[in-house]
Symmetry: C2
Subunit: 429 residues, 2 copies
C-alpha cells in the first residue's frame, strides 16, 4: 500500500503521510486533498487524494510536480475540538483558505504563518457560536499571494456544496492580498445563489490586540444569518476604528491600502451593506436569495494576461505576451489609451484572434474610446472597452468567459453582459 | 539644398517642408526640432534639425525611422500673434507639450486633437497676461500616451533653459494620461531649482464651457509669480467644481479617475499647496527657491519594466521580461508580495544582476517585507522594498538612477535616497 517510484520520493521529500492534507501542484495547477493509500491497481506515477467534496482522484505526477503538506492528520492523542450544535440555530459554513485572518505569529522569527484549523479559528471567536451553528472546514492553508486559478475552482465547488446542503451562508476567511481576485472569481462561478458568500480577511492577525479578525467574522456571520443577501461580497472594516464594517460587491472591490484595516474600497460603486453591531443597513441594490440550488460554473481558461501600459512600455513586451495567451486585459492610461506603438501591437494581436479588452489604470471612472483619436484608433483595432469594470475583475472575468464559451463572439457577449454587477448600472460619463 | 534618397522620401511622405517643426523617431527614441536645409557636406542619410535649445543636430535615418510634422512653419501671410511684454511684470515660461489643455475638437469627427500653438493657448486665457509676461513655446504637440523617455529629457532641458534665463517659473501644459510619469521624471532630472515647474493639464478641452483649462492655467501662473516654491508639481482641480486647485508633489501624484476634473490625487502625502483665487495656502513642507542655476541630470537608461503581480501571473512572463531589461519594478500585492513561483524568478533575475525593486499595487500604504514569510523570502532573494513610493514613480526613478550611476550599489544608493520627496518623511507603518 506504500507509494514507490517518483510518487514515493515526492511524498518522502514532503514528509507526507497517509491521512495528511497535501497539495499536489504543477505549474499553475494545484489540487488539495487527503493523501489516500496507494492502490495496487494504480500506476506507479499516480498519487490518490480525497478532495474536499469527498471524491477521490488520481493525479499523474512527473518531475515538475510539487507536493507539500497543508496540514498533518490528527493523531489519536490529539483531541479533536468538536463544535457544538443547537437545533434552533441556523447553519453557517466557514471554509478557511488561509491568510492573516487564519494565521498565527511565529514568535521565533516574528513572521506570520497560516494557521491550520478552522475549528481553532472559530474557537478564537466563540461569540460566533451564539449566532449560529458553525460548520468549519479548512480547504486551503495558504497565503493569498499563492492562490491559483485552480484554487478558485475548488473553493467555488466547496461553497456550492455547503449552500446546497442547508447552510444559510458561507464565510470564506482569506488572505487580503488577492481577496478581490477570489471574490470576483466566485462572483462569476457561482450562479443562482441562495445565500451570501462572505469573503473576509483581516489586516492584523487575531493574536494581536488591534486585530480586526473578530469584528469582521462576527459581521460576516450576521450577514449570513440575518439578511436576505445572495451575492459574493468582501467584508472588511469600514474605517480604521472598530465602529462598523462594509460589505463590498465581489466584482467592484479592491485592496487600496497595504496595511490599514479599512483597506478595501468599493470602486465605481457604493458598498452593498454597512454592518454596525447587530444592525445591517443596505446601501445599494442587491440580489436576494434564490430558491436554489446554487449552480457552479467553474470552467476557466487561464491563458490570459493583464498588462498595465506606461511610457516606455515596449511593443516587444506586448507581442511576446500576446503570442502566449488567448486573451489580454490592458489597463490603459486615462480613458483607456496606449501609445501608437502598442496600438500596432494590439491590432496585430486582435488580427491573430487574441481577445483584447480595455480598462483604465486610473481604477476610478470608466474607459471611453470615443473622445480622443487614440481611443478611436483603439476601437478600430478591434480592442473592446469594458466601461467601469476594474482591470482585476476584467482579467478574472476574461479567463472565466474563455472557459465558458468556445466561440470568439460568445466570449465577447459574456464579457459585455453584466453577470455579477461588474458594470455599474449607473455608469460614470 | 534639397534632401534626396531615404531622407527625401521620408520628408515627402510626411509632407514636411524646410522650417516646419518635425519629429524624427525610431522605436522608443524621438527628437523634435525645426527642419533645416540639407547641407552638401552632410551624408545622404542625415536629416538636420534645430533643437529647441538652438543647437542643430544631424540624425542618421534608416528604414525604421519615422518622420512626422509637429507644426507647419508660419507662412508670410499668417500674422504671428506677438505676446505683449511689460517691463514691470515677471517672466513666466509656458512650454506646451500637447494634451487636452492644448487641444481642439474636430467637429467633423468629434474627436479631440492636439493644438499647435502655445500663443493660441495663452490668448485663450488672456487673464494670464495680467499676471506676468508669458514666454510661450510649443515643444511638443502630442497626446501624452505617446510621451517617450526621450521627450522627458528634451523637456527637462527646455525647462532648465527658461529658469536659467530669467523665468520665475515654468508652466508645462501636458496631457493628463501620463502627467504623473512626466512630473516624476522632471522631479529627478531637475536639481537645484530656482522656481516652480508646474505641470498642468485639463480634463475638458478649453473650447468646452466646463473646461478646467483656464482655472488650472491661472492658478499655475499664480504659483510661479507669487510663491517661493521650487519643486516640480502637478496642478489640477481640487474638487469637481471650480472652487480651488491643488498642487501635488511631482513624485507623489497619480491620475485616479479617468474623467473627473479632480482626477489627480496625492498618494501617501498631502498636496503641497491649495490655490483659491489669488490665495495660495501651503499644506505641507516644500523646497524653496535656490539661487540657481538649475542643473539638468537628464541621463536615463530606458531598459526597465514595471510588472504588476496577480494570481495566474506566469513565471515565464517574468523571466522573459527580466531577460530583456536591466531593472524591474514589481507592483506586488499588499505589503509587496508575489507568489512562490514568481519569487523563484525574482531570485534568478537578481542573481543575474537585474535590479528588482518592490512597490505595492494597493498604491496607498507602504511595502513591508518583514511581516510575512513571503516578504522575508523576497528580501532574502535580493529584491529591495521601496517604502511608500508609487510604482510609477519607482519605475521612472529606476530608469533615471540607472542612467546616473554605473555600479549596482550606486544605483541602489540613489534608489533608497529621498531625492525629490518620493518617500514620505512621515512613513506609514
Amino acid at each position: 500500500m506504500k507509494y514507490s517510484g517518483l510518487v514515493g520520493e515526492l511524498l518522502e521529500g514532503a514528509a507526507a503521510e497517509i491521512g495528511d492534507v497535501i497539495e499536489v501542484s504543477r505549474g499553475d495547477q494545484a489540487q488539495t486533498g487527503i493523501l489516500m493509500p496507494h492502490h495496487d491497481f494504480s500506476a506507479d506515477q499516480i498519487v490518490t487524494i480525497k478532495l474536499y467534496n469527498g471524491y477521490n482522484i488520481g493525479i499523474r505526477v512527473d518531475k515538475k510536480t510539487k507536493i507539500k503538506v497543508v496540514s498533518k492528520k490528527e493523531s489519536k492523542d490529539q483531541k479533536r475540538q468538536v463544535l457544538p450544535r443547537d437545533a434552533n440555530k441556523k447553519d453557517v459554513a466557514v471554509i478557511s483558505t488561509g491568510g492573516t485572518i487564519a494565521s498565527y505569529v511565529d514568535y521565533r522569527t516574528g513572521a506570520v504563518h497560516p494557521a491550520i484549523s478552522a475549528e481553532e479559528l472559530v474557537f478564537s471567536v466563540p461569540e460566533l457560536l451564539d449566532l449560529c451553528n458553525v460548520r468549519a472546514k479548512v480547504l486551503y492553508s495558504i497565503l493569498s499571494e499563492n492562490m491559483k486559478v485552480s484554487h478558485w475552482q475548488g473553493l467555488a465547488r466547496a461553497v456550492a456544496d455547503e449552500l446546497n446542503s442547508g447552510a444559510v451562508g458561507v464565510i470564506v476567511p482569506h488572505g487580503t492580498d488577492t481577496l478581490g481576485f477570489t471574490s470576483a472569481a466566485l462572483s462569476f462561478m457561482l450562479r443562482n445563489l441562495n445565500g451570501p458568500v462572505v469573503c473576509v480577511g483581516a489586516q492584523r492577525s487575531s493574536d494581536r490586540p488591534s486585530s480586526d479578525a473578530i469584528i469582521n467574522l462576527l459581521a460576516s456571520t450576521r450577514l449570513c444569518v440575518d439578511s436576505d443577501l445572495a451575492e459574493v461580497v468582501v467584508l472588511m472594516h469600514g474605517e480604521t476604528s472598530d465602529s462598523y464594517t462594509l460589505a463590498h460587491r465581489g466584482t467592484k472591490v479592491r485592496k487600496m491600502h497595504s496595511s490599514r484595516r479599512d483597506a478595501f474600497k468599493s470602486i465605481n460603486a457604493e458598498p452593498i451593506a454597512r454592518i454596525e453591531g447587530s444592525q445591517i443597513t443596505f446601501t445599494s441594490e442587491y440580489e436576494k436569495r434564490s430558491r436554489g440550488p446554487v449552480e457552479v460554473k467553474d470552467k476557466i481558461d487561464g491563458r490570459a494576461s493583464m498588462l498595465h501600459f506606461y511610457p516606455g512600455f515596449e511593443a516587444e513586451h506586448f507581442d511576446m505576451i500576446a503570442q502566449n495567451v488567448k486573451g489580454v486585459v490592458v489597463a490603459g492610461t486615462g480613458l483607456g489609451h496606449v501609445s501608437e506603438e502598442i496600438l500596432d501591437s494590439v491590432r496585430k494581436a486582435v488580427d491573430k484572434g487574441v481577445h483584447v479588452y480595455i480598462t483604465t489604470q486610473c481604477l476610478y471612472g470608466s474607459v471611453n474610446l470615443n473622445v480622443y483619436s487614440t481611443g478611436r484608433d483603439m476601437l478600430a483595432s478591434g480592442a473592446i472597452p469594458l466601461g467601469d469594470m476594474l482591470p482585476e475583475t476584467a482579467y478574472v472575468k476574461l479567463m472565466w468567459a474563455m472557459g465558458q464559451a468556445e466561440e470568439h463572439g460568445d466570449v465577447k457577449k459574456l464579457m459585455l453582459a453584466n453577470i455579477a454587477g461588474e458594470f455599474s448600472t449607473r455608469r460614470p460619463v
